[in-house]
Symmetry: C2
Subunit: 618 residues, 2 copies
């Protein structure tokens, strides 16, 4: 190993990046070429990774935060002897795991990247686990682009990495000056990055990103750090090594012209077949997380007749889960006394991570912890989870196992006003690949669902209520994700009321009103909004002449109403009334606001009466 | 004016904050009290604002980024003589404009705040207009909390304000040390903020936030700045002035105990009725934006038979709008050569703002520009608009008039893979209060819709396609928001196919296939997904025996399929097939990916055949 080898290896990575993008007819070779020297030195000397055992807990993590440099990543795999040239050249082809941007369809990729500004905050989560949960020796290397430094989420990562003293995190900034359409904000002003990142408390090192010796020294210096994250700010040239690409505008995200590809590869010294023996981690250095129950799970129990907010039950259940399972960790966006994750934090402080008011970093850290095998629960107000939607979307592509809790659902929060009301969270979370969306109305139900979320793969979301509500179900009842509960049912039912969360309580009052008028109404507590219990909804609709009222504390679009319509489509004649929040709410008491929104008991009963009157007149 | 007056005024603001929250039984008096001295000096000496004429374009802007300090804001209104004590004490009551967090239900409030980290980036938009569009003398004052400095969006604002040299922007950091549940990351370390913000190029001043003379000098120094934004970092105490609240934990977001309120007000020197004569801006100093058409609008025209991507048509139409209207401005997240907003940027560079890869700041700047009366169009990939969902949600509460464009919709983008595919944008944007959601399939249609978006109030969203598609409509055709187009229709139609965007082209091919088999299919181009053309869908369903196939390039939840179901609910028997993207896509050609997702012509034709077979067997 030495300068000449590193240079040769870097040239191979460049040539392979050009060849892969050429074979695909698309991709980002120039953004790969700038970082080739940085990665050549890393792969051959510093990275500790067992390609035969990607699940080895002692492996380092390598995250391409600039996911569009995927040709470089895949060229690294080839150089490590992990994939063949043929596999490399399947880049971006249908069915190939070597997609346009990295995803865990490749077994050596921990998380999907390609939405810029996510790799570094996710790396923070991986490094948090190493430093604060495992006392482990693995390192987290994150290759960052300079354009993505404009994303606020990068600065959330910068501040949290410093705050948590993540000496095991090394960011490598590929400062190639050129973004997609123009020069970045700071161009080649490495000092600009150094001053900014340094001001947050990071160790920073400026290097010539095409000088392997400087790079080598920088990595060595980074490894010396115990309590400060390091950013290596590497001045590089986009398209490095090819005369007609190097440092030129207009070549972002484009393969080399087919007629010029041969010349490009030639300028890079032609094809090579160097293979690097990547250093494996020390035997037994890592320790896999202890998964599942280590103690009996003692969920909280509430008496029928008590009044308990579902958000409080979330906290109680999370605390109980934490006692029974050592893999459960919790994060919150500095509202833990509102979401009640504080109950977990007080009981298990070593497994609670305060993410302050930085919801993107909270989500990203949860993804990073999920990669390490933990069972993260992340909570904030439902409204503020919208802040992290891109991270949730990408977490689904990553196949991350996340549990999210959004408290303060809908207008039922009362006086705080619309900025604090989660009114789009159901739509947002339903439209996440593979998600479960839960909205309990009762604390015992909440506790059961929280326990199930811990075991569920993919992204699970639970929506909780601010106000206290009466306990409806006994503590022994089972509630499964995908189920529902029929709260009122008789052979005389003439209308179905479907509700979830706060509107379950309104629906029960409406059913009582109707009952007093001699009308039997079936009431379905559709606490599992996705997957929804289509069978129960269909049966209820059929039993009640197709008359269905849905009431929800959410905008009309994308929530329970439309979930119910999707479940009922093709189920025969339907007479449907959808009560949801359509006007912009203000402040007021929960009762005033639910009434103004048209989702209170009186409105539900009226909608039922209208449906019945319509049938009679038909 | 002088120290004694400022002190008295600040005490009044504090007492009024306590009284307002007391009357409401909720709210954030302690977070108001910390900033009272800062606001007393601002109101009485520096703010230039005509409370009788909030539309005066020369008025300064005052944004409470820490929106929970609303009691302080409303107390300022009382001190300015703008509202009565009775109005102040209507705080948080149902029907009062003085809501829990400020919204433009109050005529002096420009934008809703309460989701932290938004006021400063919105202030950047207002200041951009003043400095770069109007050459105006108004200033933008933003009161920030210290907790919200953890939000990445604050750092997006910090970097953009410096980059654009916004000397007219003054951020006032109320560093009261205490967040909701604990001390902030940096506590009272004013140097931590100064180093960080200063490293980005801001002018910074540390002051004792309870010393009116220091505050006075700091504001005066800020006004001297021409090309650098200023942050005044004020060390303050939460609950300042009341012995049992000052700098104590556990009092965030809580009114004073009713039995202690009298004591608190007494410690603050009792109730006062000071009224400040707020300085008005100079007569004629401001210039309102010239609204509407100043030249004839010459929309681009495309010939039937050409192939043009709708994203290119967006760019052409935006450029044409910019030529005809001087109030139109454009912003992009450094992907203008993908969204084609570059066409506008090239033609009207003085009205184009590069927001780099910072989608939250892009949205916030658009909101700020909308406050100044401009007609902003902001574009990025549809997938990356998810990054700014909280800003879009809050913009709806602000009543902002925004036009958003999300390009690269769905799997039809091809090789780039799922991280770049907008697959949840329809669900996200439909669940925004008062939004319009448009998804054209044709460039002439796109151009017409872009023109209409400029005139529409509220938030309008247009979703464009990456690939070129054939021109379907002639350049003269009108398309209105809320409409649809029936592309195939006959008296023999036996099934309806509803599509939008790329699936319109697939639907037409499917109809051709079916036609060859002797089956007439009605094809509806539902380009306006919200509001949806319910009348046309109902008529089509009724004419085709209730058989409806919907095909969309989006996840199954919250998009066109559910919009159609909502429109068709209660319209009689429905046989429904919903084709949407349900599995996680990878890379591949658009055709391969649409086929794999089950939304291509063949799948649409099959779904129609199934519905017909089902009817025959029934």
């Amino acid at each position: 190993m030495g300068v000449d080898f590193w240079h040769e290896l870097a040239q191979q990575l460049r040539a392979d990046s050009v060849r892969a993008a050429g074979a695909a007819g698309s991709g980002h070779p120039t953004s790969s070429m700038s970082a080739a020297d940085l990665m050549a030195v890393l792969l051959s000397k510093y990275l500790r990774y067992d390609f035969d055992d990607p699940e080895n807990p002692a492996n380092d993590h390598l995250v391409f935060s600039k996911g569009h440099a995927s040709p470089l990543l895949y060229s690294l795999y080839r150089a490590a002897g992990a994939i063949s040239d043929e596999e490399l050249l399947s880049f971006r082809k249908f069915g190939s795991p070597f997609q346009g941007h990295p995803t865990p369809a490749i077994k050596w990729v921990d998380v999907a990247t390609g939405s810029l500004g996510q790799g570094l905050p996710i790396g923070v989560g991986m490094a948090l686990a190493g430093k604060h949960l495992e006392g482990a020796s693995y390192r987290v290397w994150v290759l960052c682009g300079d354009s993505e430094m404009a994303e606020g989420s990068m600065w959330e990562a910068v501040e949290h990495a410093a705050y948590y003293g993540l000496g095991n995190l090394i960011a490598i900034l590929d400062m190639n000056r050129l973004g997609q359409t123009r020069e970045t904000m700071y161009g080649w002003d490495g000092g600009a990055y150094e001053r900014r990142v340094g001001a947050f408390g990071w160790h920073t090192i400026q290097v010539d990103g095409h000088d392997p010796e400087e790079i080598d020294r920088a990595y060595a210096a980074a490894l010396e750090e115990q309590d400060r994250p390091t950013m290596i700010i590497a001045r590089t040239k986009k398209g490095r090594g090819v005369s007609f690409l190097e440092d030129r505008e207009g070549f972002h995200g484009k393969p080399v012209d087919p007629e010029k590809e041969e010349q490009a590869v030639e300028e890079l010294g032609g094809e090579r077949n160097l293979v690097v023996e990547v250093r494996k981690p020390e035997e037994g250095a890592g320790r896999a997380v202890e998964k599942g129950l280590s103690d009996e799970l003692k969920l909280p129990a509430y008496e029928v007749g008590e009044e308990v907010a579902t958000r409080a039950a979330y906290g109680d259940a999370l605390k109980a889960l934490g006692a029974a399972r050592r893999d459960v960790v919790a994060l919150d966006g500095e509202v833990s006394n509102s979401t009640y994750s504080e109950k977990f934090a007080e009981a298990h402080p070593e497994r609670y991570f305060e993410m302050f008011i930085a919801e993107q970093q909270m989500l990203a850290a949860a993804v990073g912890l999920s990669v390490r095998g933990y069972v993260p629960f992340a909570s904030t107000f439902a409204a503020f989870l919208t802040r992290a939607y891109d991270f949730i979307r990408m977490a689904a592509i990553s196949g991350a196992n996340l549990r999210l809790c959004g408290s303060h659902a809908g207008v039922s929060i009362g006086e705080d006003g619309p900025s604090q009301m989660g009114l789009e969270d159901l739509a947002m979370m339903r439209a996440v690949h593979g998600s479960a969306v839960l909205h309990p109305s009762d604390p015992n139900q909440t506790a059961r669902l929280v326990a199930q979320m811990a075991d569920r793969e993919g992204i699970s979301y639970i929506r909780t209520l601010r106000p206290k509500t009466p306990v409806l179900y006994s503590a022994g009842e089972e509630f499964r994700i995908g189920g529902s509960r029929v709260l009122r049912e008789s052979d005389e039912d003439r209308v179905t009321i479907v509700a979830a969360g706060i509107t379950v309580h309104e629906a029960l009052r409406a059913a009582d009103e109707l009952h007093d008028e001699g009308v039997a109404a079936r009431v379905v507590d559709a606490y599992s909004i996705k997957p929804i219990d289509a069978a129960t909804l269909k049966a209820a609709a059929q039993a009640t002449g197709g008359r269905v009222v849905v009431a929800e504390d959410h905008w009309p679009e994308g929530g329970l109403g439309e979930a119910a319509l999707s479940a009922l489509a093709g189920n025969g004649e339907l007479e449907f009334r959808h009560l949801a929040v359509s006007g912009m709410p203000g402040s007021g008491s929960p009762g005033e606001l639910m009434d103004a929104a048209g989702i209170s008991a009186g409105h539900i009963a009226n909608a039922a009466r209208e449906l019945l009157a319509k049938s009679r007149s038909a």
